[in-house]
């Protein structure tokens, strides 16, 4: 009997089992990036930059050359890589603590310079790796290890909407916010990631996809509840959609 392959793991990822918690959507986002790199046939011409956060070991999962950056500095590292090798595809994979807190300066300036890199920005409204502390993206009222009474606007300020903020900069060419809370949105997320890499291919400027993601472990919810929490609580604060599209069209 001959069997027909109807589905197989993308070549964009290695065979290494990931360490992500059950129900964490980091794994889904990895797969989407891997599939896009494979489908565009650019795996061999890509250099990824891993950041510091739960995804630090992404350098073991993406099946391309990888370099690992200090906390928050991935956009600067990616700048160094891309400026030496403008003929290569360069992407960063960063959490919201990494990108929007300690690394907010690096991401703003990389975007302002119009670095021809692609940023995969995973917004899970919390610090996953260090045990569930407040991130700049934590929602008002959300309880975390460092906001035990809920984030209070008057004490900790309000969430940073990175996509909106960066889209005001002329150097940005493509910015979209997507989500992973159900299949239609995951498919949209993949299209956005593809669009971002196409933007880099055309040399149009800085591209970023902000992906709303879950952290069941630190949210204290099960995987299904986590997906609902994204839809109910995160999407209203972080509206999905295209924030910048220099090229126009879809």
């Amino acid at each position: 009997m001959t069997m027909k392959t109807v589905f197989q793991k993308t070549k964009g990822l290695t065979d290494k089992p990931t360490h992500y918690c059950p129900g964490c959507t980091h794994g889904v986002i990895h797969r989407l990036v891997g599939e896009v790199l494979e489908e565009m046939d650019i795996l061999e011409d890509t250099i990824g930059v891993a950041s510091v956060g739960c995804s630090v070991l992404s350098y073991e999962y993406f099946n391309c050359d990888m370099t690992q950056a200090a906390h928050g500095r991935a956009p600067a590292v990616a700048t160094g890589v891309k400026r030496v090798r403008p003929d290569r595809f360069v992407f960063t994979y960063q959490g919201d603590g990494d990108l929007a807190s300690i690394g907010i300066s690096e991401i703003i300036h990389a975007a302002a310079r119009g670095e021809k890199i692609t940023v995969i920005f995973v917004n899970n409204a919390i610090y996953g790796m260090t045990g569930g502390q407040m991130a700049p993206t934590t929602l008002i009222g959300q309880k975390t290890a460092t906001t035990p009474f809920g984030r209070n606007e008057n004490i900790q300020g309000s969430p940073i909407r990175v996509s909106e903020m960066l889209s005001t900069l002329d150097g940005t060419a493509y910015i979209e916010r997507v989500s992973t809370h159900d299949v239609p949105n995951i498919l949209k997320a993949k299209k956005a990631i593809r669009k971002a890499f196409e933007t880099q291919k055309k040399g149009l400027g800085f591209s970023m996809v902000e992906v709303l993601s879950t952290c069941p472990t630190n949210w204290g919810l099960d995987p299904q509840e986590s997906l609902e929490w994204v839809r109910e609580n995160m999407v209203p604060v972080y509206p999905l959609g295209v924030y910048k599209n220099k090229e126009g069209g879809n």
């Binding site: 350098y59 370099t67 690992q68 950056a69 590292v77 703003i108």
Partner: protein
């Protein structure tokens, strides 16, 4: 190529270009801003790239990225900016990435001032960042020596896959002297087959990281680093001695201070006091040999520095109790004068305690 009259900061930049450095990431700070400006003008001429980073933190991480691809890359700064680079430097060592980092030291602590100083000696030689590491530190005393040492710095960095620091003071950066850019034969260096440039045509993904979650694994990696440091200690020591053979007193000084101290030494010799000088060129690895060779013969060593007394600790370690070690220094941007150093020598030689 004949001699040209140039400013120290520009000599550092031009020497780097001669050494094949094509990429420079930096942030302006006095007294090394001419270096950054020179690179901005010069690198495009050789098909390279200069980029003004948003901060010293970004600059050192851009260096990390550029070095990840195997490029010869450099950054420079002065004390406060150099402090900001420390995490990045530690990562460079941990990830075994070569780079040349220049610190044109100014008065500190804090914002201090923009006058020349050597008070970052501890920071550059003892590892200003976290973790068990060492970085070769080269301290030129003249502009011609810069030309040699910058080339050496890039070669050492590539040979050991480790960053190298050039330490100068504001005086060195600002002074003008005639220099000649001699063409040296290219050193034989290992191929950078570790560089992350894409997997096309090679075996599989190359990973550049300093992370090792397993304790035994990290200890093993660190042992590998320590082996490299031991080899550097053996092979990368640089120093010069002047008139130490018959000396009763030996001054220890590096960088531009060594030049001032040399004048004081000659004056004291005219007055019959036998003074010699040891000039460490590599501040790490610190040259122990010239001390071992002299320490049972001299009456005293005098470490002369533009700091409140930092290298003097390494002098004491090298002398290891065989002779007394004294210190003379000015700091906060004050440059010790020849007369002051001469006075110090004469007081010591005359047995006067102050």
């Amino acid at each position: 190529m004949g001699k040209v009259l140039m400013k120290g900061n520009e000599v550092i930049a031009e020497s780097a270009v001669h050494a094949g450095c094509k990429y420079f990431f930096g942030y302006p700070i006095t007294p090394q801003s001419e270096l950054v400006a020179y690179m901005a003008r010069r690198l495009p001429e050789v098909g390279g790239l200069f980029l003004q980073a948003e901060s010293e933190i970004a600059a050192i991480n851009m260096v990390y990225g550029a070095s990840s691809t195997g490029a010869r890359v450099m950054t420079s700064s002065s004390s406060p900016g150099f402090s900001l680079k420390q995490e990045g430097i530690s990562y460079l060592v941990g990830s075994e990435l070569p780079a040349v980092i220049c610190n044109i030291v100014r008065g500190g602590p804090g914002l201090g001032n923009i006058q020349p100083a050597q008070s970052d000696y501890f920071q550059v030689t003892k590892g200003g960042g976290h973790g068990d590491y060492h970085i070769p530190v080269l301290a030129p005393a003249s502009l011609q020596e810069i030309v040699e040492l910058i080339q050496d710095a890039f070669d050492i960095a590539d040979r050991y896959r480790n960053p190298v620091i050039i330490m100068g003071d504001g005086m060195l950066g600002q002074m003008m002297e005639p220099v000649e850019f001699t063409e040296r034969p290219v050193s034989e260096l290992p191929e950078k087959n570790w560089a992350a440039t894409g997997t096309r045509g090679d075996g599989g993904p190359k990973i550049i990281t300093s992370l090792e979650l397993d304790a035994d694994g990290l200890e093993k990696r660190n042992q590998h680093l320590q082996k490299k440091f031991a080899e550097m200690k053996e092979k990368e020591v640089r120093y010069e001695t002047y008139k130490t053979e018959d000396a009763d007193y030996i001054i220890v000084a590096f960088g531009t201070v060594a030049r001032i101290a040399m004048n004081a030494m000659n004056k004291a010799r005219q007055d019959g006091v036998k003074v010699g000088l040891i000039r460490p060129i590599s501040l790490w690895p610190f040259p122990e040999k010239p001390f071992i060779e002299t320490r049972d013969k001299v009456n005293m060593y005098i470490s002369v520095e533009m700091s409140a007394g930092q290298m003097v600790e390494d002098v004491r370690l090298a002398v290891n109790g065989h002779a007394p070690v004294d210190f003379f220094g000015r700091n906060g941007g004050v440059v010790p004068t020849q007369e002051e150093i001469y006075h110090k020598i004469m007081m010591i030689a005359g047995g006067i305690q102050v």
